[in-house]
Assembly symmetry: C2
Amino acid sequence: MAEEVLSKERILDTTEAILRKFGPAKTNMSDIARALGVTHAALYRLYDNKAALKEAVVERWLERSLPPLQAVVEEAAPAADKLYRWLDTLRRFKRSRASQDPELFEMYSSLVTEAPEAIQVHRNHLLDQLATMIKDGIKEGAIAKQEARTTAMAVFMATTPFHHVAHSAEWELPDGDQRFDAVWHLISNGLLTR
Amino acid sequence: MAEEVLSKERILDTTEAILRKFGPAKTNMSDIARALGVTHAALYRLYDNKAALKEAVVERWLERSLPPLQAVVEEAAPAADKLYRWLDTLRRFKRSRASQDPELFEMYSSLVTEAPEAIQVHRNHLLDQLATMIKDGIKEGAIAKQEARTTAMAVFMATTPFHHVAHSAEWELPDGDQRFDAVWHLISNGLLTR
């Protein structure tokens, strides 16, 4: 019974709610155990410390961005259209989270700088999705034959200003859409004539 | 005579030396005035506060990156080669400054996040140089006709991970050169077949 009551889902739901209420700095393991109605020890058996629990909350929060992106990957549309929509969906997701869910976004930002390995799994999911669309594009002849994963990494890096937290202060600038379209035009068509 | 003794050059040389010695937080206007052998008041007549003086030091420090970049712009070489070399020179300059001149690099990083308008002049110089090479490329037929300044901005944004201070922690990663080449390949040739 205790197993069921202390499901990962319930722990993370509760922790997320408390982190939102008190902020990451003021929340401690006792607050979370109390809200769950379990002992300190029971919680520590599952998470080593507050950092581990925060990481688990942020990871789940990040995973929520994947289904809408996966839906784009699975669309029956030309690869170039899907790639544009995927990048646009990703940047809009990040932008809305930064403005509408500032506590969780702040925790995510800290992880990016302080424990980048914690977001590596999420980053790899994103690169997998990008690589799938690039492979589709190669199959349909829209993209020249190349190592899809390397190209996925290059596309992800070249669009850094639109999805990396270090640039969130620029996301509400009035010319953001124009900048994004200019970078998309550049990476899709290339600079040089062929 | 006082005019000559208190030249901008001498003030900035002295301030830079003191900032390196004591660090930006511990340096104050009195230290700088004392080192210059002038009164507090004489220094304040020229710079409103420590922030203004620090800004002037960082601006001059940034301007030192321009001559080697300008030399690339003026090379008698195909535009594509020059563009690659210019981006490569810029990233190597930033990387060497981050590792070899950490105090000044730290001050520059603070300006980027806290007073981005202070580095706007420098950024515009860089965009002008990029636009010049793009115009040359259009003239020689290597680049299709387009608005050079918009493209310059797109190239600058797409190479953000290699020159923006927010990413300096990644500059010494072993696959840095590979990543740079992958992004250059992407932006020069484009993703889509034509």
